[in-house]
């Protein structure tokens, strides 16, 4: 079904679609079956596409009809009761069957598998009459079934062949912790027990093990695994091994027949989890639409247990081998265990128990193959521990109450999000964002929302892919676009859209500002800035406030001002009746609540007194914060104020991928808080320490030390090189902190410290672009006679509007 949804998205008109399904339902979200069993959801909650959906999309649905033959010569499929349909292309999605252990008694009533809605219904009805349940299989599915049955009031015993639960996902220590907490919930375990037979006459009454012991049971659930359903494919001569063998475009040995899902064997792997199936569906749809660019290259799978209150995560090669190393952390009292397998400086596998807040991050690092050398020291303590403001105490997400606020910007609770995920059938971060608005504003709770997706969907969750398109208007990434701009000398936004075949006529509010910045950065002396592709703050050179008024913040270099400057600002504030005058966080003076019409006049007054724009509104150099340094301070070792002013004079006006803040402290006491800035300078007796990649705000990140230099000239040189590298290589809206985490500090050090010629070239490029950038926009706008951007082009006064407006009040 997912393949059809994908196909409808990309090529709605291309095919007439017919669907045959053996089950008498539309399609439902199989991975949420355990929640139905646990009583958290109803079957209706987990339906994905109801019959109306098929009708709305012009799809013919034959439900409860089993296909029994495919006549490949004549391209004809037929069912047991004689329906025949010709095909141009055929998709096999026959799924997998539960594996039933071939032991005596397996056919007795009361012995079922855990696979479809029938099984769940059967379990629910048995639980009303009987008491004792045994689940054979201590894997993911078995434990979810066991948990569901306990919640239905049964006594549940889990029988497992091995001594480790979920041995395909967990190592021993994690499995031990899991067993303990499941025992606390009342589950019993029989480990290292092999079932010999089910006993009972009319229905199941118990189990006998190989060692001769027996236990009673009214219900036996076999959850020992699945096997790809290849019956139909085999019968019609399509090549199968363990599954139906497919290539990277999901075609079987008969190129007109595709296969996807659990019935498939691809590059020798079969998958029983949902995330890989979605990837396959996408590739298959792309190929059917004859785009032919997508290939399926296998999946990195991860697992979560969908048992409320248990945080558990596993991915990749979690046991390790001779060539790998282990990093681990264990706090038995708190029930926390984390293990990472590292191979060639990359994460190769992970097991987390009790604290899985970083699971999505680790998964991303694995999929991306990120070199972790630079973050090795705190990899285990990582992202969540760096103080996300507004999200304290939320590291155990599965145990949070439904009322817990996840998105502090839009007021979205955990319950809102999980309900939307299950009710609306959401699978991706973007879908959750557009449906609930969670993490759609500042984005700081993105990790938490991804966590919730993962814990609600379990293995159905597929993390945001590594290479994300720039925006929905294109499939190309930021990097693709930047390289193309340079290689093909594209110099306008329409040229990029044409050349790279944008899907929308004008782009959107996401790509336009990015393209404008990339062009500005690539061609500083040729590109004419496109005001209509700027966010309003940069277009109006002032920060829009919640009531539609603006703030005006003149630049005060290094934060050092004079009585005359203050007098000018005071006069301007009075003249234009500015309601609020505020000292900002960056040591500047903000005039807030200015109406748009007044902006050019105020700017005129300020620029006449020698002020320039403070760029407090821009993705640009913001401020250089300083302390008084050795001029006044008894501890100061260097003249931090003068250096701060020089830095700001060199860099002001520069556009950057996101805002860029600097600070200079005159001694290691660091009163200017330089170690949470994009570029921070701290004076020591022998010179200056240069720090990079810090920020306050949502996710506090302290800087990394770049190097130490002796003279203030060197500080200027290195800061220019660093800024230019950031300008040229970071993605639009990516601040220095995530950029450095993405590319690695070693890389930045290499470019700035080791490669002397490269550094000099960066400095030259920066200074060259500053020649155009330091033309003051306030001055330009104040002296431009065309004020149509600031004042209404017409005033309308009409009897009609007056009367009506009175009436409306």
């Amino acid at each position: 079904m997912r393949a059809l949804e994908e196909l409808l998205k990309v090529a709605r008109e291309k095919y007439d679609i017919t669907v045959f399904g053996a089950e008498p339902y539309g399609n439902y979200n199989r991975i949420l079956l355990s929640l139905v069993l646990a009583g958290d959801k109803t079957i209706d909650d987990i339906m994905l596409n109801d019959e109306q959906w098929y009708i709305d999309n012009g799809i013919t649905l034959y439900k409860g009809k089993k296909v029994t033959n495919i006549d490949r010569k004549n391209s004809l499929v037929s069912t047991e009761d004689g329906i025949s349909v010709y095909y141009d292309r055929l998709i096999l999605a026959t799924g997998a069957d539960p594996f039933i252990i071939p032991i005596p008694g397996a056919q007795l009533p009361g012995c079922i598998s855990f696979r479809d809605i029938h099984d769940v219904e059967a379990m629910l009805s048995v639980s009303k009459e009987y008491k004792k349940a045994v689940v054979i299989g201590g894997g993911l599915l078995g434990l979810e079934a066991a948990n569901g049955l306990i919640l239905q009031g049964m006594d549940v015993t889990v029988v497992h062949l091995l001594d480790t639960l979920m041995e395909r996902q967990l190592d021993k220590p994690a499995a031990e912790l899991l067993k303990l907490s499941l025992e606390e919930r009342g589950l019993n375990f029989f480990l290292e027990k092999e079932t010999e037979a089910l006993i009972g006459e009319k229905r199941v009454q118990g189990l006998r093990f190989k060692d001769g012991t027996e236990i009673e049971a009214d219900l036996v659930v076999m959850a020992v695994g699945i096997k790809p359903n290849t019956d139909l494919a085999k019968e019609v001569g399509i090549y199968c091994e363990r599954g139906v063998v497919v290539n990277d475009t999901m075609q079987t040995y008969d190129p007109r027949i595709y296969a996807i899902g659990e019935c498939v064997q691809h590059r020798n792997a079969t998958y029983g989890l949902v995330a890989p199936l979605f990837e396959q569906a996408k590739v298959c749809a792309n190929h059917l639409a004859e785009f032919g660019i997508a290939r399926y290259e296998g999946s990195v799978t991860s697992t979560k247990l969908k048992v409320t209150g248990i945080d558990l995560f596993s991915a990749g090669n979690f046991i390790g081998d001779d060539e790998s190393e282990e990093l681990f952390f264990k706090d038995a009292a708190k029930g926390v265990y984390k293990k990472l397998i590292v191979k060639n400086n990359k994460i190769d596998g992970a097991v987390l128990y009790g604290d899985t807040i970083d699971s999505t991050w680790y998964l991303q690092l694995m999929r991306d193959g990120t070199d972790i050398t630079d973050m090795r020291d705190n990899l285990l303590f990582s992202q969540a521990h760096i103080g996300d403001s507004g999200h304290g105490e939320t590291s155990h997400i599965a145990s949070l109450l439904d009322e817990a606020e996840i998105c502090g910007c839009n007021g979205v609770s955990k319950g809102d999000i999980t309900k939307a995920i299950t009710k609306e059938g959401l699978f991706t971060l973007d879908e959750v964002r557009s449906t609930t608005k969670a993490s759609a504003s500042c984005g700081s709770c993105t990790g938490l929302v991804e966590e919730l997706l993962a814990s609600t969907l379990g293995s159905g969750y597929s993390a945001t892919p590594k290479t994300k398109p720039l925006c929905p208007c294109t499939d190309f990434t930021h990097e693709n676009v930047r390289t193309t701009i340079i290689t093909y000398e594209l110099t306008t936004i329409p040229a990029i859209r044409n050349f790279m075949e944008w899907k929308t006529p004008d782009g959107c509010h996401v790509c336009r500002p990015a393209l404008n910045y990339y062009l500005l950065c690539a061609w500083p002396d040729r590109y004419e800035d496109d005001a209509q592709s700027r966010f309003i703050n940069e277009r109006a050179h002032a920060n829009i406030q919640k009531d539609g008024t603006y703030s005006v913040i003149p630049r005060i270099f290094g934060g050092e001002t004079t009585a005359d400057q203050l007098r000018t600002i005071a006069d301007v504030a009075k003249k234009y009746k500015v309601p609020t005058v505020k000292i900002t966080g960056g040591q500047r003076i903000g005039l807030l609540g200015v109406v748009k019409e007044d902006l050019p006049k105020m700017w005129g007054d300020l620029t006449n007194a020698g002020f320039v724009s403070g760029h407090a509104y821009g993705k640009a150099l913001r401020t250089v914060k300083t302390c008084v340094g050795s001029n006044w301070c008894r501890f100061g070792t260097q003249d931090s104020t003068t250096l701060g002013i020089e830095l700001e004079e060199m860099t002001y006006g520069s556009w950057t991928p996101n805002k860029f803040k600097m600070a200079v402290s005159g001694c290691p006491r660091n009163c200017a808080e330089a170690t949470i800035k994009d570029f921070g300078v701290v004076a020591v007796d022998s010179g200056w320490e240069l720090h990079v990649g810090g920020n306050g705000g949502v996710k506090v990140r302290a800087t990394d030390l770049l190097c130490k230099v002796k003279t203030s000239e060197e500080v200027l040189e290195y800061s220019a090189a660093f800024m230019q590298l950031y300008r040229e290589e970071a993605r639009y809206l990516e601040r220095t902190a995530p950029w450095i985490e993405r590319v690695g500090l070693s890389y930045v050090k290499h470019r700035i410290l080791d490669d002397t010629e490269g550094r000099e070239a960066l400095v030259d490029a920066f200074l060259a672009s500053q020649k155009q950038a330091q033309v003051d926009p306030w001055d330009a706008h104040a002296n431009n006679p065309d004020k149509r951007a600031y004042i209404p082009i017409k005033h309308v006064e009409m009897e009609a509007t007056k009367k009506i407006s009175r009436g409306l009040r």
Binding site: H509, S533, I544, G548, V796, E797, M798
Partner: protein, 108 residues
């Protein structure tokens, strides 16, 4: 219909907007990339953000305050957002832009 001339097409930048003010609040007049014009109240249905200051793309505008996307044709919010901004008939003739403000449009 009562057409009111509000200025030249040249007064509005392509993919941009200008405002006219009335006793009943500001009206934003938009110009698309294909030189079509649309008029909406200059108030986002979400938190009254000035739509005239947003980024115009295709026949839509993105509100500058919280990125709601409003259809210029219908005044309705897109995606999962629910809301409606009042729209006015608008047209271009011989390089001049006209809009129509009537009791009927205001009463909506």
């Amino acid at each position: 219909m009562n057409w009111l001339e509000i200025g030249g097409l040249d007064d509005i930048p392509p993919l941009g907007a200008r405002i006219i003010n009335t006793d009943n609040g500001d009206i934003a007049v938009f110009r698309t990339g294909k030189d079509e014009v649309f008029a909406l109240d200059d108030r986002c249905p979400h938190k009254n953000g000035p739509l005239s200051q947003g980024i115009v793309h295709d026949r839509r505008v993105t509100c500058p305050l919280h990125n709601w996307v409003i259809s210029l044709e219908t005044g309705e919010a897109g995606g999962a957002d629910m809301g409606y901004t009042r729209k006015y008939p608008a047209k271009v003739e011989n390089g001049l832009v006209y809009i129509s403000i009537t009791k009927e449009t205001l009463a909506k």
